[in-house]
Symmetry: C2
């Protein structure tokens, strides 16, 4: 949709809402949302912070756009697929998007999203469940359950050992001081540290899918 004359576009492409949001996502991926400021974002785009306000209304507007872009990046599962496969595909795509952009749940937690991409994703999930034969009430239960599981696993993953959000020093000190009184954590520590979240998610999703299937008429 953008014209590209094929030269020198990297030095000064025209500023647009889209370019601003793309740059904001890239900056947040690198530095976290806490490191995303209007001034830094401007610098990233070769412009003063104040110029951004010609294309967006607010920093909040940027955050909403960033969330929407992440949801847009999740492939919508095919309606023709078996519902179990479709749900698995959608869920795995969502977890991938949420963990690829570890700031997104943090931002979502303080704003939610009523933007088009998030709602389109929800629409697809509800449609898949309805077509599978669930009643409206059960479709709603199933959506809440699957969405919660998906958000929860992604949340666990972005704060797990090995990520920037995990404070290994504090945990190590605690382990030395309190290990004796917390034998289960000590015993399971290797499993916790080497947790393969993708497999955990699929394990959990299968438990849920089996449980839901039993409710189909």
């Amino acid at each position: 949709m953008t014209y590209d004359v094929g030269m020198a576009t990297e030095t000064r492409a025209p500023l647009t809402r889209e370019r601003i949001i793309e740059a904001a996502v890239a900056l947040a991926d690198r530095n976290g949302v806490a490191g995303l400021s209007m001034r830094k974002l401007g610098a990233e785009l070769g412009v003063e912070a104040m110029s951004l306000y010609n294309h967006i209304t607010d920093k909040e507007d940027i955050l909403d756009g960033m969330i929407d872009q992440v949801f847009q990046s999740i492939p919508l599962p095919d309606l023709e697929l078996d519902w179990r496969d479709a749900i698995r595909q959608g869920g795995i795509g969502a977890v991938e998007a949420f963990t690829a952009h570890p700031w997104v749940l943090e931002v979502l937690g303080s704003r939610g999203s009523t933007r088009p991409a998030a709602l389109a994703f929800m629409e697809r999930a509800l449609a898949i469940l309805s077509r599978a034969g669930f009643s409206d009430a059960d479709t709603h239960h199933a959506w809440q359950l699957i969405a919660s599981l998906t958000i929860g696993y992604a949340f666990q993953q972005i704060t797990s050992p090995g990520t920037a959000n995990f404070d290994a020093a504090t945990f190590g000190a605690w382990l030395v001081r309190e290990g004796e009184r917390h034998p289960s954590i000590v015993r399971l520590a290797p499993l916790i540290v080497e947790c393969a979240f993708d497999q955990e998610y699929e394990f959990g999703l299968d438990v849920i899918i089996d449980g839901l299937e039993a409710r189909l008429p």
Copy 2:
């Protein structure tokens, strides 16, 4: 643990780490974490912002303390209970704490917690599952599953319609514009808006507990 002479303690009790964190929780409950600043927190305690640094090291230190206080407020389920009841009790307590302090997941999402109360809660959950007869590997799977579900439901609840995080105006405008193309959302809207999250959580938890039980030796 604190002496109380029974008079005038409300005007100028001695500043302590504990009092600072309590005031910070109260302030965040009222205004969200975004509205929690060192200057406002000082004012709340009748003191300049800089005085706080005599008792805490950082704003981050305060945030860690706040998270820990929320986890401390969750009753640890009794080890002697049937494991299903114990898990239900712990999970429901966690959801209550996370929704009573809607900022806590937001903060947790950017920091995790390796503090005593969160770890003590995890220890109890692992111990309950181990005593129920799960192998170490299954105890770990079950923990990840239950913790994810719990965090996810609380997350959904704090961003649901009717909360401060839900942008009803944007949603309404979208509905008018896009409703036609999103029939499932339109049809299920009443269920979504009037969602009873407590019941949803217990529904989901039961699906999971049943699924896990089938794996017991």
